[in-house]
Assembly symmetry: C2
Homo-oligomer: 712 residues x 2
């Protein structure tokens, strides 16, 4: 009894109702929160406004958002989204991360390797088409194959007929399938980036914190046929930028949320998945941190990985803290319980006959048995090395390409082959010393996690060695009886896939020819492939497919309920374009302190001074030497109530005129629980203010060319 | 068959025999390797030589070694052994770690809080006395209690009669019990320490690496009655220091080895214990690393913990890499197999009736079931906070002190109470913000590891809630239904044990009075104590005691075999005084590179320059400004073949005249496997050269007073 009391009491304290809360929602552009915005703000979300915002929005292949901000293809995103490109373009002599970059002329703009942008042109419903491919008599494996085949077919046909990239995206765990038509841009050039020391000012300690003082901005330009690309739509610059209490919209690509997970699913994430993931992330963080301290070259080589991992670790820690908070889990528990009861009472699902909540729990039981093997082999986490990834992709490319399109693994279907080739033939530098360290450590992790055929045998007595013959045949030859470090060295010394011409040769081979190759990485990828595919098939059939079906049933029932209750809703984030509305507003901290909505450029200087200008609070010389020139009272960062999450980085914040007033770059630490619940009291999106950007471009970086192009 | 082949093949490659190898051995002063040294080096290890070395040697309570180097109580140890004292003596204004310290006069020497030194005066065999307390009819719990009671009694009686600290130490897993008589020194003052930047030059990246260039030295002075302590013995300074190929001895306190573990025990360590430990260490490392980056104050507060954890993490990673190396495990497998066969054949143990190898395996099975709970509750790892440690110690102090001495937990027996009081009333600063972060994170880890009564209940349906009453009564009230962060804040805000007077008040209470206290930490410590004690009792009776008995049997059988084979031997390291012999010699690296035995002061400057003088290669100003004055060709560090391990840090290296020629501060990375196997080819002990120390004291630090005191 006491437990229920606690949940109820905290629920009351927390003040959350079980329906959609306040500014909650990562809305589809095809079903926008028009009614909500109209009711709360009296603003009409017209189709024209939506189309303009949608077609000005851009997705970065490396996991971020962006927007067109000039008719000449100028693109604005975060510095931290540009980070991997800056890293790839850097040399020991010319460190773009450290020193920033500015192309004073079009000709000086630097082409970025392996960067793909997408602009969403068109949305069409394909639910009927996909679902009609699945027949009631099919097993779940057959259903999954039929669905995949239908998706591949539609994508391929539509891509061919439109000349654009067409992709089936699913929402509400498969209750909806949409066909998204994308303009793809692969010639992307770097125009401007500030120094990391101000782009990521405050570094790890300030990450996910507020107040903040970051110029987390960068500019690129899209090209087509070697000329600046002329976008159909772009966002104009606001004269004054974001104002307190103003209604603003964020258009971007939130990566992933788990808002509609069942309580058992959330508990699995809390008790199994996140603890596992965090151990792995911290392990990599320590490895890369240490390697970075060894030398400047090492730091440069590891920078991009380290940044990503630290960010991810902090983010997931925040989510796990939320899941470990009984107050928040109490809300989810009640929501889930209410939904279950209503669905049963209104007979939207026959729970006695087929309880999708139970299906999910039992699929999670299976997942619990295989997730480590899946992660090690199929995700390749046992081989944390770019060289292995290339070898694995080559092996599967050759294997899959020989099959009919419908039977291929999704990432090798015809419509995805271009992307895969781009990835296999990437010219991004490979750091062999780092490859070796990462591979040795991940092989060691594999041995810790799953053991190895050679290892288990040491304590066998001769009497029971008759079993060893069989065991040997099961061994995958991952360690080959060697210590992880020695095996890692052997694998790296024996491969040539660091050479792009070698990769091209291998790609042109047949599977039989590949088998005869002596390349160690190719041989490793071949050796584990049958086992890895088996685990993937087991996951697909016994975890993903039943869960997808169960979540589809729940989602359909939820739709029906929402329709009865006249509630508009939105699907979990899937790194597809979404719209969020909200207002610019400060909040109260845990101890009651008022946190203002805005910070200023002056604040950045003060923040640096408080920390004695020591890393990561070492403002660059461009800033310190222009302190007299710059207008210190210009707003630099601000917070708003928009519902965003990772993937939204680089999203434009626009006012009701559709003008840029800011640039999303973070959420505060209270917003990390957004993964599974929207918390409206303290959760805030953090942006760079448009006026701060313009002031820095004008009076710190003297990038007159960009300022003029932005206008206003 | 293939597996056995691999083991054999690698064994041959590795070239190790199964008997004691080369310079292997951490010998007891009571049974020194006199014959071995005589045979190999023609040097006579006389009782006089041994006594002089023994009584000049010092153990630091915080886990290191040291030696007297003047008749006036001057003590030499490592900078990194002084590190926790330097940290405690530092203030934000006067950072002794950063700036170093030199007391130009006796009066300026700084008293170190909470530091206890020991000098081993006398060794006596007590095996008979202890063993006679254990009767054959006793259960293992009774045997453990009887042994503990006998040990407590002897220690207390002898301490009283001699006025010295008397302690029973066990070797060979309980085959031998010795009574060690120690001189205790608690008034210890800081005399000199260089800057961390040269004491730990190269930092984490260079840790456990060679060639090295560290001035990892510090000087203390022991006092008695407020006057410099006059030791019976001290080590003279060598005129020329260590020479290539010279025979040298190391006298110090190797902390722990597992050289005689059974193969199943090693596999448990490889597959369970070290992976668990490393996940925990990396978790703390990341937490402290991030906290250190936030502010200079944070970095100072976390420095000591962070140093210890990084060191430990790198060390354990090295051990685990060794355990994951089938070549080394093959040697252990064969050694173990040979021992097992010989013991059986020569009927030293009736293996059919009672197989101690099996006993160990089955005890490890029990340990596997409870080690996490033991670590979380009994080791207090779920409450990573100084405040909790104090509260736990107060609760147990009050509880145990009311019992007869023989029935107390070992750490609360009469002879140990002084040390415990010293620890409870420590004046070391407590950093509340760091306490909060560490406690929140460790509570979160606890929830991940063991769940919590409140947490499991969320998905319960009302029907099965009748069980919850029972579950509640099992709940320990660790989280009290709150999120870890919120509970951590509550625990820290509600305790007063940061106040020393409050601790004194609590220490004077009865258990009943303590129970009425509203102090949150005291209440937590009380709440978990019954469960924690149960787990400890289970561990003592079902893991430690049967393993101790089994290892005793194996050790006795091994002695008998060694006697038959006329082989002298040594016990596993136990942080007691040991003697190691070896010679000064370079080695070949994996790729065949010759690594020279010595480095020079010039090398330190060159190493700094190669790394652009950037942290952790930023030599201090004292060095860079004296580069003209110092003799650059003076040897700075050297390597020798001595068999050492963690705990030996600060050990003097002496020549055959018993003069100081160096100061142990590290092992190379190849030596980390020393935990379970002595590898003679590349494994090396790393020392500061005595001439390098003197040169730095003279021409860099101008510490004329110390130089004169050292003589020569």
């Amino acid at each position: 009894m006491r437990k229920l009391f606690i949940v109820t009491a905290l629920l009351t304290l927390f003040g959350l109702s079980s329906s959609v809360r306040a500014e909650e929602g990562m809305w589809l552009f095809s079903s926008p929160p028009a009614q909500e915005v109209k009711t709360k703000y009296g603003f009409e979300l017209t189709p024209k406004f939506l189309e303009h915002l949608q077609k000005s929005s851009i997705r970065f292949s490396n996991g971020g958002s962006a927007s067109f901000v000039s008719s000449n293809g100028l693109i604005m995103t975060n510095h931290h989204i540009a980070e991997s490109s800056l890293n790839k373009l850097s040399t020991p002599e010319k460190n773009l991360l450290e020193n920033g970059f500015y192309a004073a002329t079009l000709e000086e703009e630097l082409k970025c390797p392996e960067l793909e942008l997408r602009v969403l042109l068109k949305i069409a419903d394909a639910t009927q088409q996909i679902n009609s491919a699945v027949k009631p008599e099919m097993t779940s494996t057959e259903a999954e194959e039929a669905r995949r085949a239908a998706m591949n077919k539609i994508e391929q046909e539509m891509s061919k007929s439109t000349g654009n990239k067409c992709e089936i995206v699913s929402f509400y765990h498969g209750a909806l399938y949409h066909l998204y038509q994308y303009k793809i841009l692969t010639d992307v050039r770097l125009v401007f980036a500030p120094e990391s020391s101000v782009g990521f000012f405050g570094g790890e300690p300030d990450n996910f914190e507020y107040p903040r003082y970051n110029l987390d901005v960068s500019f690129f330009r899209a090209y087509e046929n070697d000329k600046p690309y002329k976008p159909e739509h772009f966002l104009a610059w606001s004269a004054n930028g974001a104002q307190e209490d103003e209604l603003v919209f964020v258009s971007g690509h939130p990566g992933r949320t788990d808002r509609f997970n069942t309580i058992d699913h959330l508990m699995f994430q809390r008790d199994v998945y996140y603890p596992y993931l965090l151990n792995k992330l911290r392990r990599r963080e320590v490895l890369l941190q240490i390697y970075s301290e060894r030398s400047a070259e090492g730091a440069l080589a590891a920078a991009s990985d380290l940044f990503r991992i630290r960010n991810s670790r902090k983010n997931r820690t925040g989510i796990l803290q939320g899941l470990q908070n009984p107050a928040l889990m109490g809300v989810k528990y009640n929501e889930n319980g209410t939904l279950y009861t209503e669905v049963g009472e209104k007979k939207l699902i026959d729970l006695e006959k087929n309880d999708p909540w139970n299906t999910i729990s039992s699929a999670l039981g299976t997942w619990n048995d295989i997730y480590i093997a899946y992660d090690m082999l199929e995700n390749g986490e046992a081989f944390d090395s770019v060289l292995f990834k290339i070898a694995r992709n080559i092996v599967r490319y050759v294997d899959e390409k020989a099959k009919p399109n419908e039977q291929r693994l999704r990432e090798y279907r015809e419509s995805a082959l271009d992307t895969m080739e781009l990835s296999i033939l990437s010219t991004a530098p490979i750091y062999l010393e780092l490859e070796y360290l990462k591979l040795a450590d991940s092989l060691s992790m594999y041995v810790e996690m799953l053991g190895d055929a050679e290892y288990g045998s040491l304590s066998e007595t001769p009497e029971n060695s008759q079993n060893s013959e069989e065991e040997n045949s099961e061994g995958l030859g991952i360690l080959n009886g060697l210590a992880p470090k020695i095996r890692a060295a052997q694998l790296i010394q024996g491969t040539k896939v660091f050479n792009i011409n070698e990769r091209k040769k291998l790609l042109a081979m047949t599977l039989e020819e590949l088998r005869k190759s002596t390349d160690t990485m190719i041989q490793l990828a071949l050796a584990i492939d049958p086992t890895s595919r088996n685990i993937r098939a087991m996951y697909d059939s016994n975890v993903a497919e039943p869960m997808e079906q169960a979540y589809t049933e729940i989602a359909k029932a939820r739709f029906a309920l929402n329709a009865l209750n006249k509630v508009n809703t939105y699907p979990d984030a899937t790194f597809t374009l979404r719209l969020s509305y909200g207002k610019i507003a400060g909040y109260k901290d845990d101890d009651g302190t008022e946190i203002p909505a805005f910070t200023t450029i002056r604040g950045a200087f003060e923040h640096a001074k408080e920390h004695n200008y020591v890393y990561p609070y070492n403002l660059p010389k461009t800033w310190t030497s222009n302190i007299k020139k710059v207008d210190l009272k210009t707003p630099l960062n601000f917070v708003s109530t928009n519902d965003i999450i990772g993937g939204n980085s680089g999203s434009p914040v626009v006012n009701t005129k559709g003008e840029v007033v800011g640039l999303i770059f973070d959420g505060n630490i209270q917003s990390l629980v957004s993964n599974f619940i929207f918390e409206e009291v303290q959760s805030r999106a953090v942006s760079v203010h448009s006026s701060g950007i313009r002031e820095a471009l004008t009076n710190i970086y003297n990038t007159q060319r960009i300022v003029e192009e932005l206008g206003k």
